[in-house]
């Protein structure tokens, strides 16, 4: 008898790993709150790291945390080719003291980046951005997830089903993919798929 498969049965499908779908799981449980506090003290900051390291995921988790804490926040994600902020999110149009979270800050031109930083500073708007390098404002969080963080993510994703990707797999995967956690999770997808089929046979 053929049993209909449920969408997202493989816990490493894109619907489970895209930013916002999976929370940012720090190795240290209080780390997220600690970072949030540091960013608030510094009046904003940057999440810095290479491609696929989890910057967008961390930003989504921080935005959610700040929102739960009652902080007014505007969040936007700049896609490829989008070189300016939407009009409603220009610092001049935002209430003083609110947060402006920009995912993909480097999509803006250098001139617009400088303008945005200056405008936010002038209006007391707390700027939080993701980028591949630091731009010298606020508190900088350099992302370098290690085996412990990756292990927590993989355990979280597999929490509802069999744990087919184990801790012993992760060491080799981390060596192969380095800081690119996204590629590591895609590799986990393939591994999970192979083992699930082998178990089914």
């Amino acid at each position: 008898m053929i049993v209909p498969t449920e969408p997202g049965r493989n816990p490493f499908s894109t619907c489970w790993i895209r930013p916002g779908a999976c929370p940012y799981l720090c190795a240290d449980q209080g780390q997220l709150e600690s970072w949030s506090g540091l960013l608030e003290e510094a009046g904003g900051g940057q999440l810095v790291g290479p491609h696929g390291v989890g910057k967008s995921t961390l930003m989504a988790s921080l935005v959610e945390l700040l929102q739960k804490g009652g902080q007014p926040i505007q969040h936007c994600r700049l896609l490829a080719g989008q070189h300016r902020l939407p009009g409603t999110l220009q610092p001049g149009n935002l209430p003083i003291g609110c947060w402006l979270a920009i995912d993909g800050f480097e999509q803006l031109s250098a001139w617009r980046r400088r303008g945005t930083i200056k405008s936010c500073r002038r209006r007391g708007i707390r700027l939080l951005v993701t980028s591949h390098r630091a731009f010298g404002f606020g508190h900088v969080i350099q992302l370098q997830p290690g085996l412990a963080t990756v292990g927590r993510v993989v355990d979280f994703l597999q929490r509802r089903g069999p744990q087919l990707v184990t801790a012993s797999d992760l060491g080799g995967l981390l060596v192969s993919h380095g800081d690119d956690i996204r590629e590591l999770l895609f590799a986990c997808y393939d591994l999970y798929e192979r083992r699930q089929r082998a178990a089914g046979e």
């Binding site: 053929i2 049993v3 209909p4 498969t5 969408p7 049965r9 493989n10 894109t14 997808y189 089929r197």
Partner: protein, 132 residues
């Protein structure tokens, strides 16, 4: 307020259909007051999952508004549709195609709740192993 309870049942208890078959579906709502329901949407759709962004296609759609005829939207309701020839349910390596019935309930205050029930269209086994 608690979530409404959405019960869905298909005429085939194995939930396995072939292209061209007629799918008959019943649904009803519980744990919710009739006055708070704004609309109920029922759809038969397919979507993909896997390593790519999700694609979605709607084969059948029906929206029932509370303001139309004086009916209790919670009551058992039946809808049916002839299923298309494609795409078939597919359990591939990087791509999977799933067929579902989706019932979406819209309540006052812009709240919405959704329940899915998957079914199989066609009889394809898992993706063939690549051979050299």
């Amino acid at each position: 307020m608690n979530e409404p309870l959405i019960s869905i049942a298909m005429d085939d208890p194995h939930r396995h259909y072939q292209p061209g078959d007629r799918l008959v579906c019943d649904y009803q709502l519980d744990a919710v007051s009739a006055a708070s329901i704004v609309a109920v949407e029922s759809s038969i759709l397919w979507l993909t999952s896997g390593k790519g962004d999700e694609d979605l296609g709607v084969h059948f759609f029906l929206r029932r508004q509370a303001s139309e005829a004086e009916i209790d939207l919670r009551a058992l309701f039946r809808f049916e549709s002839a299923l298309p020839n494609s795409p078939l349910s597919y359990d591939g390596s990087s791509i999977k195609i799933h067929w579902l019935i989706r019932i979406k309930v819209f309540l006052e205050g812009e709240r919405e709740f959704c329940q899915d029930l998957s079914f199989q269209l066609g009889s394809l086994p898992s993706a063939l192993e690549a051979t050299a």
